[in-house]
């Protein structure tokens, strides 16, 4: 089998000492930020981009992937012990996990989450390795019209298909698309929406936007809201799972993986959808459904597996098609671009060592995470005791550090015609987008579509114009192939079906699942 050979070669790359070190740094950082409230994998990768600018591309990307995986592991710890999910994909884990912790079964809850994540990560990464070559082969036949349709599908699933409002999802997406217009048009060299400001000609930096929306928006919204006092549940009793726990956990792990991986891989949005689905499936199939809501171990095992499997799944469209479907994936794409690499089918041909090294390193990272998480759980819990003021003060310090480091340019701003002041333009953008992020949070707008829109919007526009250049302006080329038609139909379904369900009063299910336990 060809894939085995490539994967084995990748393992050789992944096992190089430097790459092992990068993976270790990645998973450690990832776990830490997953555990800490207010800072997630997307923000961490965004903050690290400027720092890794001068490092080795393969190593940096391995580190980013480690952060992504680690964030998924770490998020479960906060959900279970603190009932405040560290990232959105762990919301469901809090439902049963925190109940288990309150009943003194925090140890087994953490263990089933960690081992479930490992099992799911392992299977899903192998799935990624085997599916990727097939998709790459198919994607090589894609023309601009197919890519355009694919991006429309991604736009719609990311913004409109899930979450509690089609309107707010679409608005967030178009804010991102609108920001993507700013700067010089790549095909004609014409400046668009720059308003005569030279700093805007290069466009909006993805990292600035992401750091502002995630770090500053989050800090503002936490500071302005009433601080909810949540208590850490101490881990009492044995950390290890009983025979009964194992018996009840292994099927949910496998089912969670089977649900999470395709959802992550399908351009169907973030990891949280798989966790919601897995939770309801486990509730249906449970031997003791009455335990659900009071700490059923299946309700932790399934969603945690689904969560990690989706994370691996989102790497399928990212690596094979260059299509990010989550905020973290979008920023990882920016990471690839920073090194002059464009993920997609061609990358598998031009840089197989890097791609397969990255995939293999995910297996390594997964193993590291299991080791880091089970015995060292006490260390991670200590992170939760950092007082909020210091935590957020530190987050903002690092957020601005990354922005300043990436764009040190200073503009002279004339204040009321009296005197000129040297001002860091990028920090001004950071502040403006931070306030935008606060507003988005305040009114229930999702954040990820803004980031995905900014990075994918210009790419979609280019593909569209390329397609129309080939067809000499004939719009019919957009529906000229069966694949494009199917993708566009799926995109339409992704918008219309949830609208219909919500109108019938059934769309509340997802929103309620997240909100029933605050």
């Amino acid at each position: 089998m060809d894939t085995f050979g490539l994967l084995a070669q990748g393992l050789l790359t992944a096992l190089e000492p430097m790459n092992l070190l990068y993976a270790l740094i990645g998973v450690t950082l990832g776990t830490a930020v997953g555990v800490l409230p207010g800072i997630g994998p997307a923000l961490t990768v965004a903050l690290l981009l400027p720092v890794t600018y001068k490092l080795d591309p393969a190593g940096s990307l391995i580190m980013f992937a480690g952060i992504y995986y680690g964030g998924m592991y770490g998020g479960s710890t906060t959900s279970i012990l603190l009932n405040t999910p560290g990232e959105s994909a762990s919301i469901v884990t809090a439902l049963e996990g925190n109940k288990m912790a309150r009943a003194g079964r925090g140890g087994p809850a953490l263990a089933t989450a960690a081992i479930g994540s490992f099992v799911a990560g392992l299977i899903a990464t192998i799935g990624l390795a085997f599916i990727a070559p097939t998709i790459v082969k198919m994607a090589l036949s894609f023309g601009p019209a197919e890519y355009f349709a694919l991006m429309i599908l991604a736009f719609m699933t990311v913004s409109a298909a899930f979450g509690d409002s089609t309107l707010r999802g679409l608005t967030a997406l178009f804010i991102g698309l609108g920001l993507g217009l700013i700067g010089i048009d790549l095909q004609t060299g014409q400046a668009r929406l720059a308003f005569g400001i030279p700093d805007l000609l290069d466009g909006i930096e993805v990292t600035t936007l992401a750091v502002a929306l995630f770090a500053i928006g989050e800090a503002l919204s936490v500071a302005a809201g009433k601080s909810s006092s949540s208590t850490i549940q101490a881990v009492k009793g044995s950390v290890w799972m009983t025979r009964e726990d194992w018996r009840r956990s292994w099927k949910p792990w496998l089912r969670g993986t089977a649900i999470g991986f395709p959802i992550g891989a399908m351009p169907a949005g973030g990891a949280e959808i798989g966790t919601f689905l897995s939770y309801s499936v486990e509730k249906q199939l449970a031997e003791k459904p009455e335990e659900f809501g009071h700490g059923a171990i299946e309700g932790v095992a399934g969603p945690e597996a689904a969560n990690n499997a989706s994370a691996a799944g989102t790497l399928v469209p990212l690596l094979t098609l260059g299509l990010p479907t989550t905020a973290t994936a979008a920023i990882m794409l920016a990471g690839f671009q920073q090194f002059g690499l464009q993920p997609g089918p061609l990358l598998f041909a031009t840089n197989p060592q890097l791609v397969w090294g990255l995939i293999a390193s995910l297996l390594v990272a997964n193993l590291m995470l299991l080791v880091l998480n089970l015995p060292l759980i006490g260390v991670w819990i200590k992170l939760l005791t950092i007082p909020t003021p210091w935590l957020y003060a530190g987050i903002l310090t690092f957020a601005t550090l990354g922005t300043i480091g990436a764009n040190a340019a200073v503009s002279q701003v004339n204040v009321l015609g009296l005197f000129t002041l040297p001002v860091s333009f990028e920090l001004g953008m950071l502040l403006a987008f931070g306030l935008l992020g606060y507003g988005l949070r305040r009114f229930g707008y999702p954040i990820a579509p803004v980031v995905v829109g900014l990075i994918l919007g210009p790419m979609a526009e280019q593909q569209l114009r390329r397609a129309l250049a080939i067809s000499q302006g004939d719009l019919l080329i957009l529906i000229g192939s069966p694949i494009a038609v199917i993708l566009l139909l799926l995109a339409a379904t992704a918008v219309l079906l949830p609208l219909y369900l919500r109108a019938r009063g059934r769309g509340k299910v997802l929103a309620q699942l997240g909100a029933s336990e605050d």
Binding site: V51, Q190, A191, P389, T397, L431, A503
Partner: protein, 161 residues
């Protein structure tokens, strides 16, 4: 519709949502106006550099109308009460950093941001937190500017070293 049943008597119309609708409409106008006033270049292709901006402006207008509609129906989620002063502290810290970065250097500017953020979360007093922030930012400056060659502006404090 069953949806309207559990939307009990809320303030209708939702004024904040109307403001959002107005903001979206303004964005639409700004994009369209900016595109119209700059799109002078010869345009042979049917889909040129101005097509996408016009399309996005049109969608913004549509979203604005939709938002206004939802504002009147009271479809926006309930919002918690918000404290204003923490926001002012954080924004003030960011503005101070932005203005002082070049003049006073990374450590002083960022130290002030650190202290202001801690203050926003209720930790003070400033005469204690500012020195903590200064020391922390200075250590960060040494690690990242000297160690990792990141270009962080140096001020009087950094130039001592």
């Amino acid at each position: 519709m069953s949806q309207t049943d559990h939307q009990q008597a809320k303030r209708r119309p939702d004024r904040a949502a109307l403001v959002i609708a107005a903001a979206l409409a303004i964005v639409a106008v700004v994009i369209a106006w900016s595109t119209a006033s700059h799109g002078v270049g010869a345009n042979y292709a049917r889909v040129g550099p101005t097509t996408f901006p016009y399309f996005i402006a049109a969608v913004f207008l549509g979203l604005s109308i939709w938002t206004a509609f939802e504002a009147f129906r009271g479809d926006f989620p309930e919002r918690e009460h918000q404290e204003i002063s923490p926001i002012l502290w954080i924004v003030g810290g960011l503005v101070a950093q932005m203005l002082l970065l070049k003049v006073a250097g990374f450590a002083i500017a960022t130290g002030l941001l650190f202290a202001a953020t801690a203050r926003a979360f209720g930790r003070g007093p400033l005469w204690q937190t500012i020195p903590i922030g200064l020391v922390l930012s200075f250590v960060i400056w040494i690690i990242f500017a000297k160690g990792l060659q990141l270009s962080l502006p140096a001020g009087p404090l950094e130039q001592l070293f």
